[in-house]
Structure formats: structure tokens, C-alpha cells
């Protein structure tokens, strides 16, 4: 492997959303992979199936129909309500993150389709200050929830977040309550909500909308949990078991419905949406809202044909 190590432009995928360089080293098996091949495989290692962290842009490409994503609420931008400063000013951190990612904040919201079936989507982006949730993330997620409720179409949120954004103090904590309250309204309206948990989903994001889906899907190997591993280790004074807080761990403990390979996600979402919402089938006599309701968003002919 020494030959590869000396090769120019190899980078490890660690921490960064998408590593730079022509060659990429797998974080799990160490395989050196040609970037083009990795891109073709949706940033999944051809040798060990490790799922690399990707940005919101890739998730939108991978999960939804090609060119179906139409962004809304893109003009909501962060401010610095506390005039927060640690080693750096929060306002400078924001500017840097905006420059680096081309995003205004850590979530992108839009209308999209899956096999032609309309959905409302919110896709988080770990490359923007660790996908942390401050006021903008809270507001945009809330607007996506409201939009799904008003349009009566299913909601999909893709999570990739270290938790609440410390630089907005208690205001960021309140975004947990805000988004959860909005989800209560969505639930009462009988609209399905699918949460897709990607690497990583931790802290306040897990303790709010990530754990409030009707269906929870995780990507293989994703870190999913509440408390940080360093904090847990310090508190209990012992090492953590192998595989702790992985997608497989939370599946075993009953907090996600399924683990779905990135290559299979689009197809799985289509199957779920069809059964939960879009299939036209006879209903039980006492059904109220939900599947089959006359208030559902209407589908175009092509989509209806596809569903038959």
C-alpha cells in the first residue's frame, strides 16, 4: 500500500463531507478508490460498502427524481442574535461556511418527486457548521412541515447533523420544540413523514424531528445517537461497546424501521410512498383522513399509470 500513500492527491474521507483529491481512501477498509468510480457508486466504497458522508446536493441527486427538486425558502439567512464569540466570531464562522459550501445555512428545502410522486423535502448538510441546527434550520424545517401539511403531500427529512448550534445558545435549543410542535400538527393532519437518518445524526436533531417520523430509515453504518461518545466515555469511565450508536445498533434497539443502502433508497422510498399515500385502493369504511382521502394532492396521469 505504500505506493498508494505516496501517490499525489489521495485524501482520507474523515470528517469532511466529501474529500478532495483524485483518489480517495476508504475510512473503513482503507481501499484507495478512484474518485470517478466512487462518484458513480454514490460515494459508497466498492470493496466494503462504506457510505461516505456527502452533502445535501448529492442526497438530493441520489434520493429524488432527476431534476425534480425545486427549492423554496432559499432566501432565509442566518444572523448572529447573541453577538457570539469564542475563539472566532460566529458571524465570521457563518461567512466562512457560506463561502465554503455555497449554502446559506445547514438545510436545503424544496418540492421534489420520487417516481413522479410529489413530496416536500428538507435535506440537511453536515458540511455547514456540522449540520448544526440554529434558527434558520429550525425555521426552514418548520416551513417544510407547514408546506407538506398545506399541500397534503408526504414529508421527507434527511438528517445529517451534530445537533443544536451552540453559537445561538437557548435560541437553538428552542428549535427542537418548534419543529416538534409543527410535526404534531402534521401528524394530526394525517400526512406521513419519513425521516432518513444519515451519518451523523446526533444531539438535538435526534432529540427532535429525527426521532418523530412515521418511518425511520438509516443509511448503513451511520452514527445515530443522543449524547456524544466522548461525553459518555467521561461520564461512565469505561470504553464503549463495539458498534455503539451505529445504524445497526439503533435498529437492534428498535428506534429505526430499516437500514437501506444508498443505492436502494430511491426505490424503497417509492415503495413506501405508494403504500402510505399514493396508491388508489379501496379504503376501510371508517377511514377518515390519510391514504385515499379526497384531499390528497392530485397526481399527473403519467405518475398514476406508473403506480398501476
Amino acid at each position: 500500500m505504500d505506493w498508494f500513500k505516496r501517490k499525489k492527491g489521495i485524501s482520507s474521507g474523515e470528517k469532511k463531507a466529501i474529500p478532495d483529491g483524485l483518489w480517495v481512501k476508504c475510512n473503513k477498509c482503507g481501499e484507495i478508490i478512484y474518485r470517478r468510480e466512487l462518484q458513480k457508486r454514490m460515494y459508497v466504497c466498492p470493496k466494503c460498502e462504506y457510505h461516505f458522508r456527502v452533502t445535501s446536493k448529492e442526497y438530493i441527486d441520489y434520493y429524488f427524481d432527476a431534476n425534480s427538486f425545486e427549492e423554496f425558502a432559499q432566501n432565509i439567512k442566518p444572523v448572529d442574535p447573541l453577538k457570539f464569540k469564542d475563539k472566532k466570531k460566529y458571524s465570521d464562522r457563518l461567512k466562512e461556511a457560506q463561502k465554503k459550501t455555497g449554502l446559506n445555512d445547514a438545510v436545503v428545502t424544496g418540492d421534489a418527486r420520487i417516481n413522479g410522486m410529489p413530496i416536500v423535502a428538507a435535506v440537511m448538510d453536515f458540511s455547514f457548521i456540522g449540520g448544526s441546527m440554529g434558527s434558520v434550520v429550525g425555521e426552514k424545517i418548520s416551513r417544510a412541515i407547514d408546506r407538506a401539511r398545506e399541500k397534503r403531500v408526504p414529508l421527507i427529512i434527511v438528517t445529517a447533523s451534530g445537533g443544536a448550534r451552540m453559537m445561538e445558545g437557548a435560541i437553538s435549543l428552542m428549535q427542537l420544540a418548534k419543529t416538534s410542535a409543527k410535526l404534531a400538527q402534521l401528524s394530526e393532519a394525517g400526512i406521513p413523514y419519513i425521516a432518513i437518518l444519515t451519518d451523523p445524526t446526533t444531539g438535538g436533531t435526534t432529540a427532535s424531528f429525527a426521532m418523530l417520523g412515521d418511518i425511520h430509515i438509516a443509511e448503513p453504518g451511520a452514527l445515530i445517537g443522543f449524547a456524544g461518545q466522548r461525553v459518555i466515555k467521561q461520564t461512565i469511565g469505561q470504553d464503549l461497546p463495539e458498534g455503539f450508536q451505529t445504524a445497526e445498533f439503533v435498529l437492534e434497539h428498535g428506534f429505526v424501521d430499516m437500514i437501506v443502502h444508498r443505492h436502494e433508497m430511491h426505490r424503497t422510498l417509492a415503495r413506501l410512498l405508494k403504500i402510505l399515500w399514493y396508491a388508489e385502493m379501496p379504503l376501510p369504511a371508517n377511514s377518515n383522513n390519510g391514504n385515499g382521502s379526497a384531499e390528497k394532492a392530485s397526481l399527473d396521469k403519467a405518475t398514476i399509470n406508473k403506480l398501476k
Binding site: V79, T206, Q245
Partner: protein, 323 residues
């Protein structure tokens, strides 16, 4: 004023406590010898009052954090004992265990039947091990929700007391879904069809605090802190140095006056001079007065309107610009 057997005196409290000691000694001496020291004693007492006002009006955020954590501060059960009648504690989440770090029960506050939920810290090592230092496991949040839903069924308002350094970060807590338990409480509290009054009585850290913190009105006692993470946690992550906690406390805007200005809390409940730990009864009686005032107001609001307003209250929280 001075309670005997204070186990901990904060640095900035020392001059006050020393003066109080001196007064006590002079009183003792006067009693024993019959010498009249009343003039001197009065002079010193005036000095103590002045000093107390001076110190406590200029508290830094970090000093407030220390007051909020003062081991002599009244805890949830101390308040329950002083403000309720016929309180019955109820136990267990009906799934896995009872969580002693979270108190839940039903009782009366004068004319109102209420359910009361609150984090509970311990006073000594033994009790703290039992109470897990006020850090709940998922069972605590699930027990809280069970009792809140009982309250909804019986049409009783809910009162919660927040006082936690955070939800417990442990292996079992993760296995049993700490995040799911908190998330569910946030969602269900947002639509509970009875009034919910939240009071921060000590420390309010992170999702562990918010897990019983969604309500119609958020009160905060004067010397408390409430934020997304502890100042130490924030310092460790952003400064990479736990010792920078005082700076973090400053930057996070976690005191009651800051949070009132930011629109996170609705009212500040004043504490006795020097803090609630100097006079539990007085602190409890003020708290009770505020709770009764809110109860009288909230029970008059029709349920639909109450819930809609609650959702709206949290929907408005946040600061952004829209171009």
C-alpha cells in the same frame, strides 16, 4: 437570615458569611456577658445588607451559574413540600423502570388540582447517586409524559420544574432511546390539552431540560441558567478548554435577564436577597404566588386557543433575515 451548617460557601459569598458570623459571635458575647453591643450589631447588620445588595446586583453570568448549582438551593421536592397540599408521588414509566432523577405526581395548590413534574437532585453523595445528580434516563421522560397524559385526561393543569445538568449520557440511556423519549415529550407537550406552566428553578441544560420544558408560560427564577449546553461543555468544544467556562457563560446569554430579552422566557421570579438558598420558605412562597397567578389566567383560556397559542409561541422563536 444565616442558615446554620451551610456546606458550601461560594467565593463571592464569603465576605457576607464572615460578617454574619461576626454578628452571631457578638450576639453570643452580649448574651453571655450582658454587655450592650446592640449599636455595633445594628451597624454591622446594615453593612451586611448593603454588601449583599451590592454583591448580588453585580453578579456575572458565571456567578449565576454557580448560584444555580448551589448545593443548598431548594430542589423540586423542597418546593413541592412548601407549595402543595395532598401531593402524591407516582412512580414508573410502565415500560422499564422508575427514574428517581425525575419526580412526577399529583396534588393541589390551594384551589387547583395539578400534576407536578420536576428534575430532582440529591443533597449528599448517597442521595446524589440515587438521584443520578438530577440527570434523567429515558424512563424519567416517559414517566413525565405518562403523568402529563393522566393530567390531560383528568383536566388538570401541569406544572414542571426544570433543574438538571442534562439528560444522562450513558450506554443504557442510548440503548433505550434517550433522544426518542425527549423528542416525543416535545411533540406531545406541544399539543397537551391542559395548561402547562414551566419554571426553571436551577440548572436548565439542553434537551434534558427541554424534555419537560414545552408549555404555555415559561418562568425562570432569578439565579438560574438555561441553555443548549453547559458552559463547561461549550468551552470544551468551542475553546477546547474547560477552564474557559466563565467566558462561555458570558457568550451564551444564559441568565434570566438575557433570556427574557431574547423572548425565550416570559417572566423572572425574584429570589430572596442572596439567592433562594438563603431562605427556602420565602423562595417557595414567591414561586407559589407566580404559579397561582398563571393558573388563574390559563384555566380561563379555551383549550383549542391555548394549544394554538402554545404552538405559535414556539414557532416564533428564532432570529433570521429573509431577503
Amino acid at each position: 437570615m444565616l442558615k446554620k451548617n451551610f456546606r458550601m460557601i461560594l467565593d463571592f459569598e464569603k465576605p457576607i458569611v464572615e460578617l454574619e458570623k461576626k454578628i452571631a459571635e457578638m450576639e453570643e458575647y452580649a448574651r453571655e456577658t450582658g454587655v450592650d453591643l446592640s449599636e455595633d450589631i445594628q451597624r454591622l447588620q446594615k453593612k451586611v445588607e448593603g454588601l449583599r445588595k451590592d454583591v448580588y446586583q453585580k453578579l456575572t453570568p458565571w456567578q449565576r451559574v454557580q448560584l444555580a448549582r448551589h448545593p443548598d438551593r431548594p430542589y423540586t421536592l423542597d418546593y413541592i413540600q412548601r407549595i402543595t397540599q395532598d401531593f402524591l408521588e407516582l412512580h414508573g414509566d410502565r415500560y422499564f423502570a422508575d427514574d428517581p432523577a425525575m419526580i412526577a405526581g399529583i396534588g393541589r395548590i390551594d384551589d387547583f388540582r395539578v400534576a407536578i413534574i420536576g428534575h430532582q437532585k440529591g443533597r449528599d453523595v448517597k442521595e446524589n447517586l440515587y438521584r443520578n445528580f438530577g440527570m434523567s434516563n429515558p424512563e424519567g421522560y416517559r414517566k413525565a409524559l405518562r403523568i402529563m397524559q393522566l393530567a390531560a385526561k383528568m383536566n388538570m393543569p401541569v406544572i414542571t420544574f426544570i433543574d438538571t445538568p442534562g439528560a444522562y449520557p450513558g450506554i443504557g440511556a442510548e440503548e433505550r432511546g434517550q433522544a426518542e423519549a425527549i423528542a416525543k415529550n416535545l411533540r406531545e407537550m406541544s399539543r397537551l390539552p391542559v395548561p402547562i406552566i414551566i419554571t426553571i428553578i436551577g440548572e436548565g441544560a439542553s434537551g434534558g431540560a427541554l424534555g419537560i420544558g414545552v408549555g404555555d408560560v415559561i418562568l425562570m427564577m432569578e439565579n438560574c441558567w438555561y441553555s443548549v449546553i453547559s458552559p463547561e461543555g461549550c468551552a470544551a468544544i468551542l475553546w477546547r478548554d474547560n477552564a474557559k467556562a466563565p467566558q462561555a457563560a458570558e457568550a451564551m446569554k444564559l441568565t434570566a435577564p438575557d433570556l427574557l430579552e431574547l423572548g425565550i422566557i416570559d417572566k423572572i421570579i425574584p429570589e430572596p436577597d442572596g439567592g433562594a438558598h438563603w431562605d427556602w420558605d420565602a423562595a417557595a412562597s414567591t414561586l407559589k404566588k407566580y404559579l397561582l397567578e398563571e393558573l388563574r389566567r390559563l384555566v380561563q383560556i379555551p383549550t383549542d386557543e391555548l394549544v394554538a397559542k402554545r404552538v405559535e409561541k414556539f414557532s416564533k422563536m428564532g432570529y433570521w433575515k429573509e431577503a
